[in-house]
């Protein structure tokens, strides 16, 4: 008998006779404000849950090895790489993706600044940058260039050369501050 099956039998307290049956776990994740429930294999990644189960494909998979940040989402308000989390870990968490930023057809301030400052070309990295920058501005509403660079250090862009992205985040911070005061 495979050791995997032995482990499962000990855990379940009963004999099982087929390897085809895969353990499924019920998870419930608050995605962009709505609860999404599903029974998933424990090995399902959070990014797959978001894209395949919830059908929200704004979150991208770039490197799939924890380096590029294209898959960045906010978990409980803080940026994290959804390719490096399991959906079962996120049971009960609140997750926000790029889809949460716009209202109707209107871009939010940060998105508008990305457009205005040409902070995207192919756009593949953009959802990740937007979510990382959203988390950064939440924590530090008035970041200097050094803080912006550090806050976005986990995101890779192969097109823009980064400077327009830094400029977009800087100008978004200014606009947000003006609106608040």
């Amino acid at each position: 008998m495979s050791s995997r099956r032995a482990v499962r039998e000990r855990l379940l307290g009963r004999r099982i006779n087929t390897m085809a049956e895969t353990m499924k776990i019920p998870v419930s994740i608050t995605l962009n404000g709505s609860i999404v429930r599903a029974d998933v294999e424990p090995r399902m990644l959070l990014v797959e849950f978001i894209r395949e189960v919830a059908g929200q494909t704004g979150t991208h998979i770039g490197c799939d090895t924890s380096y590029c940040g294209a898959c960045t989402v906010l978990v409980n308000g803080r940026p994290a790489k959804s390719c490096t989390l399991l959906a079962v870990q996120a049971d009960g968490w609140s997750v926000n993706t790029v889809e949460s930023l716009e209202s109707g057809d209107t871009l939010n301030v940060l998105q508008q600044c990305f457009a205005d400052k040409h902070a995207l070309q192919c756009g593949f990295c953009t959802p990740g940058f937007l979510m990382a920058a959203t988390g950064l501005l939440e924590q530090n509403p008035d970041p200097d260039d050094k803080a912006i660079r550090k806050g976005l250090g986990g995101n890779v862009c192969r097109c823009t050369g980064y400077l327009p992205i830094i400029e977009a985040v800087r100008s978004a911070a200014v606009v947000i501050k003006e609106r608040r005061s």
Binding site: V7, R8, L11, M23, R43, L45, R78, P79, L86, V88
Partner: protein, 299 residues
């Protein structure tokens, strides 16, 4: 990329996790932040059959600072630790270390306990905690025991933990943190382990050095503590000559290996450079001068 199939339980306490680990045997692994374990599982470098998730243990993320000791729960995240010490303007060596790890995303999930248990010679917490001679509390089937981090990390990737044992808390004596410190590192990019890192804590008596702690990450198969540096420095003031002496001794002391990040010779010279930078940052902090960057990136 999907990991291979595994079963999953979420533990509500360390005792429950330990029992599940024992029951799962060799194929069982605990999951903390997942920032090392999940990438390894996706690459199929690891194929655990059972994952025991510690994420449900809510009372193990606390940071307690009192007069004698700093205690940190094993599940405290890098970002929370770094932000807490920075906000309290306390022990900059700790916030340098925590906020220099990886990038914001990884720091928001990765835990100090996971970082120690992984026993990666390039990880940042081990280098700091070995320099400060910190201790960990371990809970397992045999009860609870305390262990020096230096004894926990006697070899690369193999912490001294028995089956079913878990790291639950980290403790640093305040005396080890007297004075001023800095943690500096040289990295290829934010989301990459350092090429080398240096922890330096100096306790001053007036202008003179009363005690000095120096540790290295990524410059050997385990993090290294260079205790002899304290004897070289005690009773002296910080001068360029003293810094040069200690940097040269450090460069000879470390045990780097050739790899894709650089040759042994290169890393020995990097060690000397980082020791010098650490002294400069500490001195700048002591005199209130603007301190340079603790973490530098290249490439």
């Amino acid at each position: 990329m999907y990991p291979s199939r595994f079963d999953y339980v979420k533990a509500a306490s360390f005792a429950e996790a330990s029992a599940a680990l024992l029951q799962g045997g060799d194929g069982a692994k605990v999951l903390a932040g997942g920032q090392t374990l999940i990438p390894m599982m996706k690459l199929r470098l690891l194929r655990p059959e059972l994952i025991v998730d510690l994420g449900g243990i809510d009372d193990a993320r606390d940071i307690v600072v009192d007069d004698d000791v700093i205690e940190i729960g094993a599940l405290a995240r890098h970002a929370d630790i770094g932000n807490e010490f920075r906000a309290q303007n306390l022990c900059p060596i700790i916030s340098d270390c925590a906020l220099g790890i990886a990038d914001a995303q990884v720091r928001n999930m990765g835990t100090i306990g996971g970082s120690l248990a992984e026993a990666d010679p390039c990880s940042c917490w081990p280098a700091l905690l070995v320099a400060l001679d910190a201790a960990v509390l371990i809970e397992g089937p045999g009860g609870t025991r305390a262990l020096r981090v230096r004894d926990l990390l006697r070899d690369a990737y193999t912490p001294d933990l028995a089956a079913g044992e878990l790291i639950t808390r980290i403790a640093v004596e305040r005396a080890a943190l007297d004075g001023i410190g800095a943690f500096v590192a040289f990295k290829r990019a934010a989301p990459a382990y350092p090429t080398a890192s240096v922890a330096l804590q100096i306790n001053y008596d007036g202008d003179r050095i009363a005690a000095l702690r120096l540790g290295f990450g990524c410059l050997g198969l385990t993090p290294l503590a260079f205790d002899a540096a304290s004897d070289m420095a005690c009773g002296k003031t910080v001068t360029p000559a003293l810094i040069a002496d200690i940097a040269a001794a450090a460069s000879a002391f470390v045990e780097p290996i050739d790899d894709a990040k650089g040759s042994e010779t290169y890393k020995r010279s990097l060690a000397a450079g980082l020791v010098t930078r650490a002294f400069n940052v500490v001195e700048a902090r002591r005199t209130g001068a603007p301190a340079g960057e603790t973490h530098q990136y290249y490439g």
